[in-house]
C-alpha cells in the first residue's frame, strides 16, 4: 500500500477537509467532481467492468443500478481507492488519478459507506467514527488522541442524524444493524467533504430506515455534495436520483438523466425485461408453471419481479415525498 505514514495533513489535529464545503468556491457546473471515461477493471482474465462512463457533479445524485454481479461494487471500489482501474481514465476535478489506497480518496474528499460498513466490531463507537482520521493534539513526541473532542464531535454528528447513543464507549458490534448503518453514514457525511459514495445503503434496512437513508442522501445533495448511490432497488433510486446508470454484466446498459426516463422504464432496464420474457418462454417449456397467470408484456414482467412490490405505491409518488414521508429521524435511527 502506498498510503502515507503518520503525519498526513489530515491527521495533525485539524478537522481535515470537513467543514470546508461551504468555504470552497463552487466548482463550475460543467466540470464533474469525479469522472470515469471508458473505465474498466479486470481481475486476471475476468473482466468485471468494461467501458463505463460516469460523472458525479456537485449537488447531484448519480444512481448506479444493477443486478448482483453487474459490477457495481467494482465500480465504487475504483472510485473509493480500494482497487485500481485497468482500462480507461479516472478523473477527479478533471485530473487523471490512480488511487493507491482509500486514504488517497479520503484526502480528495471522497468518502464511502461500504456495504459491510467497514467498522471494527470490538472498538468503541467513537473510535470507529474517527478511525483512520483521528483528531490529535500536542507536538510530535507526545502527540496524542484528542479524545474529548472526538467524543463530542461524534456525538454531535450522530445526533444531527437523529441517532442518540447512551454510551459512545460501547463496542460498535453491540449496536443494531440499523444503528451501525447510521454511524457509518454519519461518518462518511462528516468526512466526505465533496463526494459521498453509498454502496447498497438500503439493502439491509426496513422500509422506514430506508426512508431515513434516502433523506440523508437528499440532504447531502442540498449541501452541494456529489452523491453516488449504488442500489438494486429502482424505486429508491428514482426517489432521489438525478442521473441513472444501469450496469449489466460489467458494461453500461443505460445512462440517462432523470428527465429522460420514467420509473417504469428504469425498472424494466434494471430487471432485464427482455430476459424475463425469455424466461417465461422457457418456463412454459418446462411445464408445471402457470405461465398464463404471469403478466404478458416484458415491462409488466419486470414490474412483477421488482424486489419490493409492496412499496410500489410509495415509489409511484414523486421524490418530493421523501423528505416528509418519514417520521423524525430519531425514532428510526434506533430501530
Amino acid at each position: 500500500m502506498t498510503s502515507k505514514t503518520p503525519g498526513t495533513p489530515r491527521t495533525d489535529g485539524t478537522p481535515g477537509t470537513h467543514g470546508t464545503v461551504l468555504a470552497d468556491p463552487a466548482p463550475e457546473r460543467g466540470r464533474p467532481l469525479v469522472e470515469l471515461r471508458d473505465a474498466g477493471k479486470a481481475y486476471g482474465n475476468i473482466r468485471a467492468l468494461h467501458g463505463v462512463d460516469l460523472a458525479v457533479h456537485p449537488g447531484r445524485v448519480t444512481c448506479v443500478l444493477g443486478d448482483n454481479g453487474a459490477g457495481k461494487s467494482t465500480l465504487i471500489k475504483i472510485i473509493s481507492g480500494l482497487h485500481q482501474h485497468t482500462e480507461g481514465e479516472f478523473l477527479v476535478d478533471g485530473e487523471a488519478v490512480r488511487f493507491g489506497s482509500p486514504r488517497d480518496a479520503l484526502d480528495r474528499g471522497i468518502a464511502t459507506v461500504y456495504q459491510d460498513l467497514a467498522t471494527v466490531p470490538l472498538m468503541p463507537v467513537w473510535r470507529n467514527f474517527f478511525l483512520g482520521s483521528e483528531m490529535t493534539k500536542g507536538p510530535w513526541p507526545v502527540r496524542r488522541l484528542d479524545i474529548a473532542r472526538m467524543k463530542r464531535t461524534a456525538d454531535e454528528e450522530l445526533r444531527n442524524m437523529g441517532i442518540v447513543l447512551d454510551d459512545l464507549e460501547q463496542p460498535i458490534g453491540t449496536l443494531s444493524g440499523g444503528q451501525r448503518q447510521s454511524v457509518a453514514i454519519a461518518r462518511a457525511v462528516y468526512f466526505g467533504a465533496r463526494v459521498l459514495i453509498l454502496d447498497e445503503p438500503t439493502a439491509a434496512l426496513g422500509v422506514k430506515q430506508s426512508g431515513v437513508v434516502l433523506k440523508y442522501i437528499a440532504a447531502a445533495r442540498e449541501r452541494g455534495l456529489g452523491v453516488v448511490f449504488i442500489t438494486h432497488n429502482p424505486h429508491h433510486a428514482y426517489m432521489v436520483g438525478d442521473h441513472f446508470s444501469v450496469l449489466r454484466l460489467g458494461t453500461l446498459e443505460l445512462s440517462a438523466a432523470r428527465a429522460d426516463i420514467t420509473l417504469e422504464a428504469l425498472t424494466n432496464h434494471m430487471a432485464g425485461g427482455a430476459e424475463l420474457a425469455a424466461l417465461k418462454h422457457e418456463l412454459a417449456q418446462v411445464g408445471g408453471v402457470d405461465v398464463e397467470a404471469l403478466p404478458d408484456d416484458a415491462a409488466a414482467a419486470a414490474k412483477a419481479a421488482a424486489p419490493d412490490t409492496a412499496e410500489r405505491t410509495d415509489a409511484a409518488e414523486s421524490d418530493a415525498a421523501v423528505s416528509d414521508s418519514t417520521a423524525s429521524g430519531t425514532a428510526e435511527g434506533k430501530a
Partner: protein, 358 residues
C-alpha cells in the same frame, strides 16, 4: 451495554453539550461488571490468586530478595511479552521471537569481538539486524497474505539454523567469546544488565525497563493514532484499510517492535553473561505468546491491553520461582504453566462474555 474493552474509564469532558437525552432503552451496567469487561482484570485477579497461593506455600518467597528474583524473572519475559502482545492485538503473532533474541545477542557479541570494535558498534548493528528481521517478517506477511504462523515459523527455523551455523563458523564453538574486557562493556552493562539497591535489596534494571516499556505501550495503545490502528488492523483488517488506516505500515512496524524487544532482551543476556550460547531461545516464543494470552489478549487480534501481559509475565515469574522456593520438583513448572494458561483463557472468555452481554 456499556463495555469498553480497550478504552480508558475516565475522560472528563461531557460527551455532549446541553441537556442529555438518552436512548432510554439501555440501563447503565454496574461498575463491577464494567470493570470485569476490561481485558486486564481477569489476569490481575489470577495473578493475585497465584501470588497469595505461593506466599502461603513458600514462606521464603516473602523475603525481599526472593521478590526481586521473581520480578527479575518476570521482567525478562515481560519485556518481550509487551511487543508480542501488541502484535497479537494487531492480529498476528511471531514464532521467531525466541530465537530472534539469541540472534541479536550473537550478532552483537561476534561483531564486537571479531572486528575488535567498541561493543556499542555491535549493539547498534544488532539493533539494525533485529529490526530488519522484524521488518522482513512483516513485509513478507503483508506482501504474500500468508498467515503469520507460516511466515514466522520459517523465520524461526532459519534463524535457529543460522544462529548455530554462523556461530560455529566464526568462533569454532557453540558459544561466543567473552566480551567483558572490551571497550564500552561497562557502559552497556550499566544500561542493559546492572542492578541497583532498594532498601538493601538488589533489583535488576530490567525490572525498571519492563515497567517503563509497559507504561509506554499502554499510552501508545490507548492514547495515540498508532494504538487505534493496532486495534483496527487486528479487529478487522479490511475495514481498517477501507477507512484509510495504513495497514501495511502498522503491521510491519509491529513486527519491528518485536524485533526491538528481542534486541533489548538479547543485549541484556549478552551483558549479564558476557557470552551467548547459540542454541538457546527455542521455545521461548511460546512463553511470550502464553504471557500475552494469559494477559487477556485475544489470539485472533483486536482485543487486549498492554498492562495485562505485565501481570501475565508476573504470573510466570511467581510460578517459576514459587515452585523452587516451595521446595517442589521444578519439573512441575511447565505442567503448572499449562494449567494456568488454560485457566486464564477460560476465565477471560467467561468474564468477557458475562460483561459484554447485552
Amino acid at each position: 451495554m456499556s463495555m469498553a474493552p480497550q478504552a480508558e474509564p475516565a475522560v472528563v469532558a461531557p460527551p455532549a453539550p446541553g441537556p442529555k437525552e438518552t436512548d432510554g432503552r439501555t440501563r447503565e451496567r454496574p461498575l463491577a461488571l464494567r470493570l470485569l469487561a476490561r481485558p486486564e482484570v481477569g489476569v490481575f485477579l489470577g495473578a493475585v490468586a497465584v501470588f497469595v497461593f505461593f506466599l502461603i506455600a513458600a514462606p521464603t518467597l516473602r523475603d525481599g530478595g526472593s521478590m526481586a528474583t521473581v520480578l527479575y524473572q518476570s521482567s525478562t519475559i515481560g519485556i518481550m511479552a509487551l511487543p508480542v502482545a501488541l502484535l497479537m492485538i494487531g492480529g498476528e503473532f511471531d514464532l521467531s521471537a525466541g530465537v530472534a533474541v539469541v540472534t541479536s545477542a550473537l550478532t552483537a557479541a561476534m561483531l564486537s569481538y571479531q572486528l575488535t570494535m567498541n561493543v556499542w558498534m555491535g549493539v547498534i548493528v544488532a539493533l539494525v539486524v533485529s529490526l530488519a528481521v522484524g521488518a522482513f517478517n512483516g513485509w513478507v506477511l503483508v506482501k504474500t497474505g500468508l498467515p503469520s504462523f507460516l511466515v514466522t515459523l520459517a523465520t524461526f527455523l532459519v534463524l535457529q539454523g543460522v544462529n548455530l551455523a554462523v556461530t560455529k563458523l566464526v568462533t569454532g564453538n557453540v558459544a561466543t567469546d567473552n566480551i567483558s574486557d572490551m571497550d564500552g562493556f561497562d557502559q552497556a552493562k550499566a544500561l542493559f544488565a546492572s542492578s541497583f539497591d532498594v532498601g538493601g535489596v538488589e533489583v535488576k534494571i530490567t525490572v525498571v525497563w519492563w515497567l517503563v516499556f509497559a507504561a509506554l505501550a499502554t499510552w501508545v495503545l490507548l492514547r495515540t493514532k498508532y494504538g487505534n490502528w493496532i486495534f483496527a488492523v487486528g479487529g478487522s483488517q479490511e475495514s481498517a484499510r477501507a477507512v484509510g488506516v495504513p495497514v501495511t505500515f502498522t503491521k510491519i512496524t509491529l513486527f519491528m517492535l518485536v524485533g526491538f524487544g528481542a534486541w533489548f532482551v538479547g543485549m541484556h543476556q549478552l551483558f549479564s553473561f558476557n557470552t551467548v550460547q547459540s542454541g538457546e531461545g527455542v521455545g521461548q516464543e511460546l512463553i511470550f505468546i502464553a504471557a500475552a494470552v494469559i494477559g487477556g489478549c485475544l489470539l485472533t487480534g483486536g482485543y487486549g491491553s498492554a498492562i495485562g501481559p505485565v501481570f501475565g509475565a508476573f504470573m510466570f515469574g511467581i510460578v517459576n520461582q514459587g515452585i523452587v522456593f516451595a521446595g517442589w520438583n521444578p519439573d512441575w513448572f511447565k505442567a503448572f504453566l499449562g494449567v494456568m494458561l488454560l485457566g486464564a483463557v477460560l476465565i477471560n472468555l467467561y468474564v468477557r462474555r458475562a460483561a459484554t452481554r447485552r
